[in-house]
């Protein structure tokens, strides 16, 4: 009998402790929610949409910006470059990520929609991406292709069916081709720069909206050839082999050095961020846009993406952080000027 109350109290005490702990954790969690990041005098919502490819870059920059201005909300979506431009030119979003420039050549296109709706914008190159051509690791013959050879393989109506048709002495085996689907900016950029015209591509390749499917296809066959963002190669280095691209200057593979220096041609592509001009009249949007080209602060330098002696801006830092490449330093000032010009126009 005498043991019972003691046991009861023990249970009681431990339960109380659990409750206290839970309450503490909840409070801490709430506090974290309320005071996440730093207060500033900026406030408002900036809607960002567009390319899935550029989304991680935009998300990282906006996350850092929101940390420093915690009353600014920046929801980021990835509807795709094309669908994003439609929303952007309908006035639904303020910032548009794009893996290609806006179509604006006077036809019935995105540019026309923007004009019709009176939407003006400023286009800024904010990151670089390399497109990689890759093959199966057991492919021991093809480690380099000239742009001309790539064009012959990929162009509309291509008669290259076998590796032996690319270069003499290569295996007499059918090439399995994998690539991005026509709705992607990657597709546009690849076809334009390899075959000379957007959309000039053979129709009998396996087209996918998902680069992982391309990777899966290529790593499954010794005779496959595919293209996709270089980041996907570096995520699957053991299962793929890079093919260098020869644009007349010898064989060059996409690496940080060759892409950021502009040597990996013609498959280094710029990624864009568009700001709506009238949105720049709002202080928080203006300051978000400038933030892209401001130098990173102490909190960001500890990451190993910054090399000793380098001073990066947020857009460069974000590009490297998500697996893309930084635009060259000497272009940063140009971007700042372009932006300043656009801001001056709406604030005067």
């Amino acid at each position: 009998m005498p043991t019972e109350p003691i046991a009861d109290r023990a249970v009681d005490r431990s339960r109380r402790r659990v409750l206290l702990g839970a309450a503490g954790a909840t409070l801490a969690g709430l506090a974290g929610c309320i005071a996440r990041g730093y207060e500033s005098d900026l406030e408002g919502e900036i809607r960002m949409d567009g390319s899935n490819t550029v989304l991680p870059h935009g998300a990282v920059v906006s996350e850092e910006f929101q940390w420093r201005n915690n009353r600014v909300q920046i929801p980021v979506r990835g509807s795709g470059t094309g669908a994003g431009f439609q929303r952007f030119c309908d006035g639904e979003t303020h910032v548009q990520n794009a893996s290609r420039p806006i179509f604006d050549d006077g036809g019935e296109d995105e540019g026309a929609l923007c004009t019709a709706n009176g939407i003006e914008y400023v286009e800024l190159e904010t990151a670089l991406d390399g497109l990689a051509v890759f093959v199966h690791p057991d492919n021991d013959w093809c480690d380099c292709l000239t742009v001309d050879e790539l064009a012959r393989i990929w162009e509309t109506g291509s008669d290259v069916e076998r590796w032996s048709g690319v270069r003499e002495g290569w295996p007499d085996e059918e090439i399995e081709l994998y690539g991005r689907d026509p709705a992607s900016g990657t597709f546009d950029y690849f076809t334009e720069n390899i075959t000379g015209e957007v959309g000039n591509i053979r129709s009998d390749y396996s087209a996918s909206a998902d680069t992982n499917v391309i990777v899966r296809g290529v790593r499954g066959s010794q005779y496959a050839l595919g293209f996709g963002g270089a980041g996907y190669y570096y995520e699957n280095e053991d299962e793929l082999e890079l093919v260098g691209v020869d644009n007349g200057e010898g064989c060059i593979e996409p690496t940080k050095a060759t892409i950021e220096s502009g040597d990996y041609e013609p498959l280094t592509r710029p990624l864009y961020t568009y700001f709506r001009a009238d949105a720049l009249a709002r202080e928080e949007v203006r300051s978000f846009a400038r933030f892209y080209f401001e130098e990173i602060d102490g909190e960001a330098t500890e990451a190993d993406i910054v090399e000793p002696g380098e001073s990066l801006t947020w857009t460069q830092w974000a590009a490297r952080r998500v697996g893309y490449y930084a635009i060259p330093d000497d272009q940063i000032d140009d971007r700042r000027e372009t932006l300043a010009g656009a801001i001056a126009e709406v604030t005067e």
């Binding site: 470059t81 094309g82 509309t156 591509i201």
Partner: protein, 309 residues
Amino acid sequence: MSQADTTTAITTGGPGGIDDRKNAAIRYVFFSCAFVTVLTTLGIILVLVQGSLEFFQHVSIVEYLTGTEWSPVIRPHSYGVLPLIWGTLVVTVGSALVAIPVGTATAIYLSEYASPRFRKIVKPTLEILAGIPTIVYGFFALSFITPLLQQLFPRTGTFNAVAGALVVGIMIIPMVSSLSEDAMSAVPDDLRNAAYGLGATKFEVSTGVVVPASLSGVIASYILALSRAIGETMAVTLAVGMHPQISFDPLEPMQTMTAYMVQIGISDVSIGSIGYQSLFAVGLTLFAMTLSMNLISLWIKSRYREEYQ
């Protein structure tokens, strides 16, 4: 209706009682459920037809139904749906070759040979096959069946129709076996006993009496399973590939109608473009195919139903 009326009469014992109102309310609930279902179906048909009409303003129906090239988003554009129908049929026929013999044999075994206790365990176990998410089948095809095929036939592509057909076949076995078993179990024992009385063996009874007698149910199960195979999406998207072509080599990649719809659905095509509209045309075609399969199944059921007693 008459049954409902008698129930009312029994439970209330007079008109205008509380139970009467309750019954009316319940009837409304059930009716609105049915109404929502019908409305949804009508909505889907409306959306499909509307989108397709826009598509067929740019593309002639003749070209769509007879063309042998399908490339609505890659220039030169061509809008012949046959390669997609071909891919779908290859997968469907392939899966039928797997599911029909295995499913029917399983059904015969369960209905005629297995002990009731064993049947009680095996039937639900088999039905688990139908409960596995189809994307899991897709990964199973990609990571297990395709490598196996590649060892047997080295020219097998990473994406190929055989692997897709095999997993879809496995997926629909429970539909065939379970529904067929129900039909076979419903055959009265008198028929079996009469055959035994004539000196037939168990095998002869199963194949010569039970299967023919339950044929309407068995065939209906085949057709239901096949419409399921036609509409199957995730497994074929993963395993069969994105390569619309009319090829007689099932080890090559192809593309089914559903896989095309996934491809366009998740890609960046802009709303209103022909590529986007083609989604509706293909969807409508698919719907027409599965609908006619279901109608055929209904017709067979009523036409060949055997009435006992």
